[in-house]
Amino acid sequence: MEADFAELVRANESQVYSLAWHYLRNRPRAEELAQDVFLDLYRNLGAIQSEDHARHWLRVAICRRCLDETRRRRFEPVNGLDHAPEPAGPAEPGDPLLADFLERMVASLGGPARMVMILRYQEDLDPADIAAVLDMPLATVKSHLHRSLEKLREKLTRKGVKA
């Protein structure tokens, strides 16, 4: 059982940590929540049926912890959008400055919308899967996606960045 659990940690640590990091933009807190989630998994290992089940379990658990975090603490990202370095010109594929800017823009979204965007673009989940993970109506997920993308496009356009 211990070897199985260690393997699950190694296979999923990046995904879990990354979800928390993109959401919270706070490394120590992201690691703390990610560790808590794996500890919960360890306590519930008997109920896990497969590696895919574990992956889904972890995804749901970390999303819920992150959302609880912002509800409880009204947690705000360390650097607000106004302080983000701006891309100078038209976006290039893989432009690191643009990537950083987009990360911060996503982090400035409200909690549920932020998590929807992270699940869509980090985890590559389709809206129906996102709805299942977040226990959210499909229409709400689609609305978050649509409105968030519109907002991002609008902000990038205002900054003179073509995306």
């Binding site: 296979a11 895919d52 749901v60 819920r64 409105r147």
Partner: protein, 197 residues
């Protein structure tokens, strides 16, 4: 402070943990430690424990083999909520109790920076036979000293790494298997309903 005492002395046995009593004193840190683990198992307690070990579970079978020539196992482990709660002088004091040539330093890692990790594995020999081991682990928020008294073979020490619930992280390669999509989600508070921006 949460003090967790596991003591053979709970049954009114005053243990002469000479190897460990002289090595490190817990009392001065008890108020600051978030968690304290203390184990005192002398020869009698080890014999008693051995009778209750399973013949089928691999870890317990291995433990029984280890116990065959041991006279005592003593543990002091303190965990703190923040760095810097114990003194480097106590770590140095442990080392000073293990002088050569009686003690050989199998592992002796010392951090160059204050509050860094220190680790050591020391063997006591009488020329040919090992008479004891001391394991020292000093981390920023945790200090642990283990003393095993008795004859233990080097390969048994090696076997201790990666056993008893401590997986060998380096051994297994990652292998992802495709499995049916997950059916159950973890039981937890439901996610809040999404609010529009």
């Amino acid at each position: 402070m949460k003090l967790i005492l596991i003591a053979g002395a709970a049954w009114a046995l005053m243990v002469q943990a000479q190897d460990l009593k002289n090595l490190i004193s817990l009392e001065k840190y008890s108020a600051r430690a978030a968690e304290t683990v203390e184990v005192n198992l002398d020869g009698n307690m080890l014999t008693m424990a051995s009778r209750f070990l399973s013949e089928r579970k691999p870890d317990e079978v291995q433990a029984k083999r280890l116990l065959a020539n041991l006279k005592g196992i003593y543990v002091r482990s303190l965990r703190f909520n923040k760095d810097g709660e114990y003194s480097q002088a106590d770590v140095d004091h442990v080392r000073s109790q293990l002088p050569s040539p009686q003690w050989s330093r199998v592992v002796d890692v010392r951090s160059g920076r204050a509050g860094g990790d220190n680790a050591g594995v020391y063997l006591k020999t009488d020329g040919e036979q090992i008479e004891g081991i001391v394991v020292l682990a000093a981390e920023p928020k945790e200090l642990t000293v283990v003393s095993i008294v008795g004859n233990i073979r080097p390969e048994q020490i090696k076997e201790l790494s990666g056993k008893f619930g401590i997986p060998d992280l380096g051994a297994a390669g990652a292998s992802r298997q495709n499995a049916p999509k997950a059916a159950a989600a973890p039981k937890a508070a439901a996610a809040p309903k999404g609010k529009d921006e």
